[in-house]
């Protein structure tokens, strides 16, 4: 296969350079030899289907926890130096099972592919069979723990208006202290968004645009962070676990919520209305029995005195007539 960059030699056998698998929980710290690792993840997608419309509208309500299925082998002929002072079979095997079974708290799982993650063991399956003498296979399923403190305040969505600027400042501080990025543009965009959120009666499209800007800066910075991490430490580091990345994800989430929070403040979520014929804002307002200011607040209309047929407008739910889509 042709290599476009003749100056780059691919690094060989990254597996051999990966860290030793290790489970640290409570008083236990066990290193064990790994044969294979399987990682599973996913997104929590909610499907909204409506009659006479093919397919479904999808909402992504967050990510599923990561699941790692680790196959460990215990055999005293193994010469991988794990630094254990006792035989792998059966001593280390029994100690690992004891650690999995007796500690009921989140531990540190060091995976060759992921470095350290916070996880809990869900199941394990030990097999010894007559075809393999003095040898055992242990398949352990670990689930990532995000260690979310589920309290009343944690369940309540953070208010964009109150927190956006704060978070951006924290992220800029973290970035500056790591010496990695100057996030002045993020701070400025976040401040702008927060101001828009706090201002009374601003156009929702302005807020959407400001939120998009914040999200784009976050995305760009995260991409740079990921590339940088890959360059520095191959595949053993997980960029989403750095403090800066976590703060950027939090800002991204908060910015995504901004337009909805502004609508929520009005008390009535909007729906989409397709203008049936050419009209103007006053005619439309009287037809729909809504204050023209409310329509203008929710929509960016270039010329309120000439609204073309087919224009999609946000209007408060419950208002309008049968023409509403």
């Amino acid at each position: 296969m042709a290599n476009n960059d003749p100056g780059v030699t691919p690094e060989l056998d990254l597996f051999e350079k990966s860290p030793i698998a290790r489970w640290i929980a409570g008083p236990y710290d066990v290193k064990f030899p790994v044969q294979s690792i399987r990682e599973q993840g996913g997104n929590r997608i909610v499907e909204h289907k409506r009659p006479f419309r093919e397919g479904a509208k999808l909402d992504d309500t967050g990510g599923e926890p990561f699941i790692w299925t680790v196959t460990a082998v215990f055999n005293n002929t193994i010469d991988e130096d794990l630094g254990n002072s006792e035989p792998l079979y059966p001593n280390v095997l029994n100690r690992l099972i004891e650690a999995l079974a007796s500690v009921h708290e989140t531990g540190n799982l060091h995976l060759p592919t992921r470095s350290a993650v916070r996880a809990r063991p869900k199941t394990w399956d030990r097999t010894e069979d007559p075809e393999s003498r003095d040898h055992a296979t242990l398949v352990i399923t670990f689930i990532e723990d995000n260690e979310d403190a589920v309290t009343r305040t944690a369940l309540k969505e953070p208010a964009v208006a109150a927190q956006m600027n704060n978070l951006a400042t924290q992220a800029a501080f973290t970035a500056a202290s790591q010496g990695s990025f100057a996030l002045a543009d993020l701070q400025e965009a976040a401040e702008n968004l927060q101001n828009l959120m706090q201002a009374p009666g601003r156009v929702i499209d302005d807020i959407t645009r400001a939120a998009e800007r914040v999200k784009n800066i976050c995305k760009r910075t995260l991409q740079v962070l990921e590339t940088e991490n890959q360059r520095l430490s191959a595949f053993v580091s997980a960029p989403q676990r750095s403090e800066l990345a976590r703060q950027l994800y939090a800002i991204f989430d908060l910015a995504s919520a901004a337009p909805y929070q502004k609508n929520a403040a009005r008390g009535i979520p909007p729906r989409i209305y397709i203008v049936p014929g050419d009209t103007d804002i006053y005619t439309l307002a009287s037809t729909l029995k809504i204050d023209p200011d409310v329509i203008l607040d929710l929509n960016f209309i270039a010329d309120p005195l000439y609204i073309r047929a087919g224009t999609k407008l946000r209007i408060p739910i419950g208002s309008g007539n049968a023409a509403a889509a």
């Binding site: 990966s18 055999n75 193994i78 007559p130």
Partner: protein
């Protein structure tokens, strides 16, 4: 070595014998024994060929025999049909004896019209040890 020094004695390579029940099998012309622990290589994520997985020890083999006018010297066919376990002893040169616990898997008989009647036994089992091992 000097020109007139005595040459070392030539070693002899005597024949091996197979014994079953109460004596050597005189009709056996040749035999083959394979001892195995069914080992396979163990590859780990971080280290290829890091160890070996040893399977169960087992022995398998076969021997050929020619039948003289007095008939087959042991009841191989009876042992095969009745799934009897037997002890087989392979007497190797130098006084070492391989002790095998086995059962017959197959007995083949070959009767050409112009030659002696011959047979072959295939067996499976395990090695119980070796005596006279240095």
């Amino acid at each position: 070595m000097g020109l007139f020094d005595q040459a070392p004695a030539q070693l002899l390579y005597p024949q091996a014998y197979l014994a079953m029940e109460n004596g050597d099998l005189q009709q056996v012309t040749d035999f083959r024994i394979t001892l195995s622990v069914n080992a396979r290589i163990l590859h780990l994520f971080r280290q290829p060929a890091s160890g070996l997985i040893f399977g169960p020890q087992e022995a398998r083999g076969s021997f050929n025999f020619a039948i003289d006018e007095e008939g087959i010297e042991r009841r191989y066919v009876d042992a095969l049909l009745n799934r009897k376990r037997k002890q087989l002893r392979a007497k190797l040169p130098g006084g070492q004896i391989l002790i095998l616990r086995m059962g017959f898997a197959a007995v083949d008989l070959d009767g050409p019209l112009d030659d002696a009647t011959k047979g072959s036994c295939t067996w499976l089992g395990r090695c119980e040890g070796m005596t006279g091992q240095s």
